[in-house]
């Protein structure tokens, strides 16, 4: 039988080749179809290979499902040995399938969406580079290679947010949004990097398997582990847009919509969750960090959900929704339910990518209009878009039997049984909020009066865009069926499959007696709140728009706070950015940099230059002088021996 593990390197090579071809020759390739196909092949072939690996994995024994594929030695100096090698196990193969599968669909969609763009080739080159970096992130068998991917996706995110560098976004430019994303991420990356230093100095290795083996000997609550995990989590909050570093993600919507779908919803932003899952065995030994993770997660979920309620830009609502859903995943991690987090990560990748792509289809049809109050009544013009968007909205709202129901419900149940009542309660409230803002989008966009300009004749997008929508809609609908909880008489295949990866962390969890009554109750409550929210949204945003105005006016101060996103940006500006700017302007730049650093460098450079121009006169070109210097050298050496 063919061992598909041997083809692991191909998974990484194809996106790289796609990037190189489009990046180097793209400007010369005239055909959009050709560029698009190269790019799509660069993602879909890896998807195909990883599917084969998954099949092979399923047919092998449970304890033989971990493979390490060593490609070559990357750094080998002293005790620091880093290989470019990849870890294939249940967790990384799932991530690979999500990245390449959803990625391939979004690539196909983008062929239609980006049609006619002057930098078509550049877009696809970046997308493939992103896939390459993301695959390095999820497949790496050591922290440093993962960090390489981590930085690589950050770079691609930056490049793609600022892709339309000549366009305006909000009150500034897309370039500013790109810079914001990059700089905020640096703060998180700083934490990640310090964590790597700590890990290397204390464990002498950066390989996951090694580090985890060594760490698991330590006491639970060990200070070193707490420090490492907190720093890693700081990195995760940057990449996965959690409090306090979430501010970049809404601005990241400046990028083209397929980018928002791929990078800022389905894949890159989940890297933080993946990092926690990968190192779950360490996190579980740091209870303090776990509490921090859960609290940050649930706070972010509520916080972003409330902001999402009042935003008018369709993509921004989805962005806040993403932040909120990522909060749920961190809540799951924080209570130790890592497989639930990954399950939600997967279903979220399906329906959130779909929401973005469908929103893109709407934006496409309305000639780049993004304000939901200038839409309405699009249902009859864009039937496929509407239908798929609706499925995704219901899925994220947790309506059974769509995928979001199973994954969110599992998180809420685990939060209740491993965490506390309050985790569950806020998660439950958040679920209501989610449904409310999603249905608000549905009603304002697709139902009601046509508020768009008369000159616009909206029409359904081409097949190349609608087919990915349909595929994602199917996945969003049935994707949850691989994880039906016991309480409903099903088998949670997903959790069972991931069991070996989280064996260590699961063993540390408190034993909870499975109480089917509680589970039923919780399930019923969350379905109930969703249905109430749908009804309420229908009431407010379809039947009785005036009433929503009324509520808005009644709570105008609260509404104002929400519209301005709790003034977090302004707060950061006042507390961090302005003082740093002032300090830099007056002291660091005008005095320290110009006077001290530049002065030191320029003057020493001048001195050396002067020295050089004087000394070079020794080189007379006269052979006798050369011999004299030669002999002088010999004499000095002989003197040195004699004396």
């Amino acid at each position: 039988m063919v061992n598909y593990i041997n083809y692991t390197s191909l998974i990484l090579i194809f996106p790289l080749i796609g990037f190189l071809i489009n990046g180097v020759f793209g400007s010369k390739l005239k055909s959009e179809k050709l560029i698009g196909s190269i790019s799509v092949l660069g993602v879909s072939i890896p998807f195909f290979i990883s599917s084969l690996i998954l099949i092979q994995m399923l047919s092998s024994n449970i304890d033989e499902r971990l493979y390490i594929v060593n490609l070559f030695s990357w750094i080998d100096v002293g005790s620091l040995k880093i290989n470019v090698s990849y870890l294939i196990d249940e967790l990384s193969i799932i991530m690979t399938l999500i990245v390449t599968g959803v990625g391939a669909l979004i690539h196909i969609y983008a062929i239609g969406y980006m049609h006619g763009d002057k930098s078509f080739w550049r877009f696809f080159a970046y997308l493939n580079l992103f896939i390459f970096a993301m695959l390095n992130l999820v497949l790496a068998d050591n922290f440093l290679l993962m960090f390489l991917g981590w930085e690589g996706v950050g770079l691609c995110s930056y490049l793609l947010i600022g892709f339309w560098y000549d366009r305006n976004f909000d009150k500034s430019t897309t370039a500013d949004a790109a810079k914001k994303a990059f700089i905020v991420n640096r703060i998180g990356d700083f934490g990640f990097l310090i964590a790597l230093f700590l890990i290397f100095t204390n464990f002498g290795s950066l390989e996951f398997v090694d580090v985890i083996t060594q760490a698991s000997v330590l006491q639970s609550g060990d200070e070193l582990l707490t420090a490492i995990t907190l720093l890693l989590f700081l990195g995760a909050t940057g990449k996965s847009a959690q409090i306090p570093l979430f501010v970049w993600l809404p601005d990241a919507m400046a990028g083209p919509t397929p980018v928002s779908a791929l990078i800022h919803a389905a894949t890159m932003v989940t890297a933080g969750v993946y990092l926690l899952a990968r190192t779950s065995a360490i996190f579980i030994l740091a209870p303090f960090t776990m509490n921090v993770v859960a609290i940050i997660g649930i706070t972010t979920a509520i916080f972003a959900g409330t902001i999402g309620l009042v935003q008018n830009d369709i993509k921004k609502v989805l962005a806040y929704s993403t932040i909120s859903q990522l909060g749920y995943m961190f809540l799951a991690c924080g209570v130790g339910a890592f497989s639930a987090a990954i399950f939600h990560l997967m279903t979220h990748a399906f329906f959130k990518a779909l929401l973005f792509l469908a929103a893109g289809s709407v934006i496409h049809a309305l000639h780049h209009e993004q304000d939901i109050y200038k839409m309405g009544g699009l249902k009859k013009y864009l039937p496929i878009t509407f239908f798929t968007f609706l499925i995704a909205a219901l899925a994220i709202s947790g309506i059974p039997p769509l995928s979001g129901f199973f994954s969110k419900d599992e998180i809420l149940y685990k939060a209740f049984s491993f965490g506390s009542f309050w985790y569950w309660f806020f998660g439950f409230i958040g679920a209501g909020l989610t449904t409310l803002y999603m249905m608000r989008l549905v009603y304002l966009t697709f139902y009601g009066n046509e508020n768009f300009d008369d000159s616009i004749k909206p029409h359904e997008s081409p097949k190349v865009m609608t087919i990915p929508l349909i595929v994602l809609a199917i996945l969003s609908a049935i994707g949850g069926l691989i994880g039906i909880p016991h309480a409903l008489g099903g088998t949670n295949y997903f959790e069972e499959f991931l069991e070996p990866v989280f064996k260590t962390s699961n063993s540390q969890l408190p034993f909870v007696f499975e109480n089917i009554t509680t589970e039923y109750l919780l399930m019923a409550l969350s379905v109930a709140i969703s249905i109430c929210a749908i009804w309420y949204a229908r009431n407010l945003f379809l039947q009785n728009l005036k009433k929503s105005e009324l509520i808005k006016n009644k709570f105008s101060s609260a509404h104002n706070i929400l519209v301005n996103k709790y003034f977090v940006d302004e707060f950061y500006e006042k507390i961090f950015i302005n003082p740093i700017k002032k300090l830099s302007d007056s002291f660091l730049w005008k005095w320290f940099d110009i006077k001290i650093i530049d002065g030191l460098i320029n003057n020493s450079a001048k001195f050396i230059q002067y020295l050089s121009s004087v000394l070079v006169k020794v080189q007379t070109g006269v052979t006798e002088n050369y011999v004299q210097i030669f002999v002088l050298g010999v004499t000095l050496i002989l003197l040195k021996i004699i004396l």
Binding site: G78, Q609, S613, F630, I641
Partner: protein
């Protein structure tokens, strides 16, 4: 002892290159049209030589009454020299059009100088090393003055010869003293007398004189004075050959002769060599700053790099030896490439060599500008290019051996060197073209430069490919 067939087989790479050169002389007389095919013929010879070097790679042995080594260390350098030779010949295809030089003689001299280099790196005896050195040097004396209707070339040739002869005197006297104190010139047998022999003043003196002779060949300060003048006067590709092959060969013998006495820890010797290394780094880089002529700039840069490599060799640990070999490979390829690019721009002898002539090269020829930038970045030692990895190893080795002061000096002088390397890149990319000289790039040349560029990038990203070979070599030697 009568040489056996195996002896001849062991030195087959050397014999094949010699035979190629001799056949070319004969064919020149017999076949009228041979001129056209001489480059291909030389390259074929070198390729066959590489083939035999690879065959011999695994078995280390000594041939001809313990005069020459073969296998591993020797094979490694034989392959390197053949590659350098191929690159030089490919790159010369362009200039051969401009100058009225005798192509066949040019090829023959290059091949024979490569024979000299091979003998130097394979020498198991001071005498065979000396013979190799002279074979190489005499070819270089002639090659330096190959553009014979140019005064500057004649001057370079004569200067090189006079100073070279002077230095050879020291070398031979050193060998004589060593023979006088230990009664043998065989490297392995000499090593058996260590460390006792090192306490003999006369033996130490012999080593020092030998050191001075080799220091002249690798151009260590203060024995470097010839180098800028000769590199400027020689045909640019020949300068490239001298900077890469000539220097590497001298270092190969240096390692063979000196790694054992240096490792034995004679303080006098270590201090002298350290000071020479330090001076080379300082003088090479500081003098490089004000050079306007690209060939002179590369000559001073070459002096500085001699210093860096020596830092690794003084350390005499694994790190240092491996790093030195890695750096020699990388530096050779880089400098062949850099001189090659210079040779293309120089479409008439001595013209277009000023830094101003590189203004806006990126607009005129992207390929050349990119390749030159890669070489410059590698010479500075900026990742991800191979120069960085090499420098890292050399300096790390010195730190292990508590030679931190040399490392600090090396890093500081590297910063100084940044200026003149980057200046070239600034001229190429950030200035508009000044003159309209036609750049003609032949396919042969493109192949050679692409090869060098790829090697420099590849060994920068994936250094372990070369290091695994180097480690294998040192398993025995």
């Amino acid at each position: 002892m009568i040489p056996t067939f195996q002896d001849y087989l062991n030195v087959a790479p050397i014999i094949i290159v010699s035979a190629t050169a001799l056949l070319e002389i004969v064919f020149q007389i017999i076949f009228k049209g041979f001129k056209k095919y001489v480059n291909i013929f030389s390259i074929l010879g070198l390729l066959i030589s590489i083939y035999f070097a690879i065959i011999n790679f695994d078995k280390v042995s000594m041939s001809f009454s313990n005069m020459v080594f073969s296998g591993k260390y020797a094979s490694f350098f034989e392959i390197l020299f053949c590659i350098i030779g191929i690159l030089t010949i490919l790159q010369s295809s362009t200039i051969q059009k401009y100058y009225s030089i005798n192509k066949i003689e040019y090829n023959v001299l290059i091949l024979i100088s490569i024979v000299g280099m091979m003998v130097m790196s394979a020498g198991a005896d001071l005498i065979s090393i000396f013979i190799g050195l002279e074979i190489m040097s005499i070819c270089f004396y002639v090659l330096a003055g190959f553009a014979r209707n140019q005064i500057i070339a004649n001057e370079a040739s004569l200067k090189y010869f006079l100073l070279g002869a002077f230095a050879t005197g020291f070398l031979l006297y050193g060998i004589a003293l060593i023979y006088g104190t230990v009664g043998t010139t065989n490297i392995i047998k000499i090593a058996q007398h260590y460390p006792i022999a090192l306490s003999l003043d006369l033996h130490l003196l012999g080593l020092i004189l030998l050191l001075i002779g080799l220091a002249f060949k690798v151009a260590l300060v203060p024995f470097h004075m010839w180098q800028p003048d000769v590199y400027e006067g020689a045909i640019t590709n020949v300068s490239g050959l001298m900077a890469s092959g000539g220097k590497t060969a001298a270092f190969a013998s240096f390692l063979l002769i000196f790694s054992i006495p240096l490792a034995a820890g004679n303080n006098n010797l270590i201090e002298i060599v350290s000071v020479l290394a330090a001076l080379s780094m300082i003088v090479g880089n500081i003098f490089g700053l004000v050079q306007q002529n690209i060939k002179r700039m590369l000559a001073y840069s070459s002096i500085a790099h001699t210093g860096y490599i020596l830092v690794g060799i003084i350390a005499t640990n694994n790190f240092g030896n491996h790093g030195a070999l890695f750096y020699l490979v990388v530096y050779s390829i880089t400098s062949v490439g850099a001189f090659g690019v210079a040779s293309i721009l120089e479409n008439e002898f001595g013209k277009n060599l000023n830094i101003n002539d590189y203004s806006g090269l990126s607009q005129k020829n992207k390929f050349l500008a990119f390749a030159m930038s890669v070489f410059m970045f590698s010479l500075i030692g900026i990742p991800p290019f191979a120069g960085f990895v090499g420098k890292y190893y050399l300096f790390a080795a010195a730190i292990q051996r508590d030679l931190t002061w040399l490392v600090i000096l090396g890093v500081l002088t590297s910063i100084v060197s940044l200026y003149y390397y980057l200046r070239l890149i600034v001229y190429m990319y950030f200035r508009d073209p000044e003159n309209q000289n036609n750049i003609i790039v032949t396919n042969d040349f493109k192949i050679a430069i692409s090869f060098s560029t790829i090697v420099v990038i590849l060994f920068g990203i994936y250094p372990s490919s070369l290091f695994s070979v180097i480690r294998y070599i040192f398993n025995i030697y």
